[in-house]
């Protein structure tokens, strides 16, 4: 993605300058203006701690916990959401009954129910998997319903009149037509699963990256805490970038 015009170059310059400005401001605030170290640690110290964490591999256990929870939650949500969505979308009547119901539940901030999940599943990974799967189930189901019921009737009739079997119809008409919408739902589901798992680790847990950040915050170890925040944001950006790329790959319509 090479910027072509002069304006585009200028825009890039502004963005780089913005980033540099923020880091410079951060540095000056901690070294010259005497901002409390407990609120804002020195960026150099944070960078040192980040290198230290990466070098010693202290992050591995927490990262594995979080990624394991994410994998389990997302798998459950994908399996449940795609199946439920497909079955409901097969009937216009069921769609009318269930789609508004799911859309209504989707509007509720489900993180509210975290205390209940902790009560049922304990403080360990089980409650994170359960809440991540629940939260990510809804966008996946809704987009699966939208994808399959948005298929143009004309395509279905045309395929049928040419003698397509049920399997052929699904493989060559329904699935390709619904795929772009479903992929968007899968990406949204992945993003909210990641957010809710890190969030619930922050709120109540025994391990994982969110838990590590809270532990460091509670013991006022600000520099390593900032280093972990940077680490988690980097991990989340990489994961989101991978998922977005996969989504774009799978789409044939743009």
């Amino acid at each position: 993605m090479a910027p072509r015009t002069r304006d585009a170059w200028l825009s890039r310059l502004v963005q780089v300058a913005f980033l540099a400005g923020v880091i410079l401001l951060w540095y000056v605030a901690t070294t010259r203006w005497g901002v409390n170290r407990l609120l804002l640690p020195n960026p150099v110290a944070v960078f040192g701690d980040l290198v230290e964490i990466l070098r010693t591999g202290a992050y591995v256990d927490d990262l594995m916990t979080t990624l394991g929870e994410l994998a389990a939650a997302f798998s459950i949500a994908v399996a449940g959401g795609l199946t439920t969505g497909y079955l409901i979308s097969r009937s216009a009547y069921l769609t009318k009954v269930f789609e508004p119901l799911f859309a209504g539940i989707y509007a509720i901030p489900i993180i509210l129910f975290l205390p209940l999940f902790v009560l049922f599943f304990g403080l360990g990974p089980a409650s994170k998997i359960a809440i991540g799967a629940t939260i990510s189930f809804f966008p996946i189901t809704l987009s699966t319903i939208a994808g399959f019921s948005g298929v143009d009737r004309l395509y279905v009739t045309a395929a049928r009149s040419m003698g397509a079997s049920d399997a052929h119809l699904f493989r060559f008409v329904l699935l390709p037509a619904a795929l772009p919408v479903i992929l968007t739902g899968l990406r949204m589901g992945f993003t909210v699963a990641l957010l809710s798992i890190i969030g619930s680790e922050t709120l109540a847990s025994l391990g994982g990256l969110g838990h590590r950040i809270v532990t460091l915050a509670e013991s006022m170890e600000m520099a390593p805490m900032f280093a972990y925040i940077v680490f988690v944001i980097a991990i989340a950006s990489v994961l989101n970038a991978i998922v977005s790329t996969l989504e774009a790959r799978g789409r044939w319509d743009r």
């Binding site: 200028l10 993180i111 209940l116």
Partner: protein
């Protein structure tokens, strides 16, 4: 329709087939029945209360010392955070969206910030703003402001250049252009942004409440969880969910009301 043997059953099936809304209601009732049966006979009462008990305990819940105040406090945090998020989001969105160069430069930064998992910096909000209402409001604002900015920028971007050109050629001042061209065109996307902003504010405020709280609902959810009082916990969480649904519906109503001129 055929009525060979006009029994109650065929009448029921017939009316259900015609009214999906009724069937939806039945599904919800069925879910409550399953919950009631499960909680009464199969699940440890320390962990789950049947809905009948939850509803019966609502009265006791609302007379519990501090609960009405906690709900009021949460509502207050939501309202303040929403107003601030919409005001900042509108100003930022207009500032970014109206100038193509600013949009090209700054908008990617906004997108980048929006994509970050904000919950990782929740402890920082508590450290900077304390454990009172301020940190909840601040966290709600940072969650709500981005969707508003995004939709305002998108709304301004969708403005047809010909409308601006023709208004300018007829000698409209900057203010007149804003009042009569930009503003009416922005209204639908602005209200869509307010709806998304409301979801964001709800998420932010409730996350911060659940994380640490001394007088808000987060305090009571922790208390009820630790004391194994599932009836009260479910009642409180249910009340908050109802509140969230109500606030979302309110903003959605406003959206359809003010977006109407375009389709009508």
């Amino acid at each position: 329709m055929k009525h060979a043997s006009p029994s109650l059953w065929t009448a029921l099936v017939g009316s259900l087939a015609r009214r999906p809304g009724l069937a939806r209601l039945l599904v919800i009732v069925a879910l409550f029945v399953v919950w009631e049966i499960a909680a009464r006979w199969f699940v440890d009462p320390l962990f789950l209360s049947p809905p009948s008990k939850v509803i019966a305990s609502l009265g006791a819940l609302f007379t519990t010392r501090g609960i009405p105040a906690a709900l009021g406090l949460t509502l207050y945090e939501l309202a303040v955070a929403f107003v601030i998020a919409v005001a900042i989001g509108l100003a930022l969105g207009l500032a970014i969206g109206l100038q193509p160069f600013v949009r090209a430069s700054v908008f990617p930064i906004v997108l980048l910030l929006y994509g970050m998992p904000q919950v990782t910096i929740l402890p920082l909000f508590i450290l900077s703003f304390g454990i009172g209402a301020a940190s909840k409001i601040a966290f709600g604002v940072t969650h709500g402001v981005f969707p508003v900015v995004m939709t305002v920028v998108a709304g301004v971007q969708n403005l047809k250049p010909i409308l601006m050109t023709s208004a300018r050629s007829m000698g409209a001042s900057r203010w007149q252009m804003f009042r009569h061209v930009i503003f009416p065109h922005m209204v639908p996307s602005f209200f869509a942004g307010m709806r998304l902003g409301m979801s964001g504010v709800l998420l932010g405020v409730l996350l911060a409440e659940l994380y640490v709280s001394i007088a808000g609902i987060g305090y009571f959810t922790t208390l009820f969880t630790q004391n194994f009082e599932p009836a009260k916990l479910l009642g409180l969480v249910g009340t908050l969910a109802a509140m969230a649904i109500f606030l979302n519906a309110l903003v959605r109503r406003a959206e359809t009301r003010f977006g109407r001129w375009r389709t009508g």
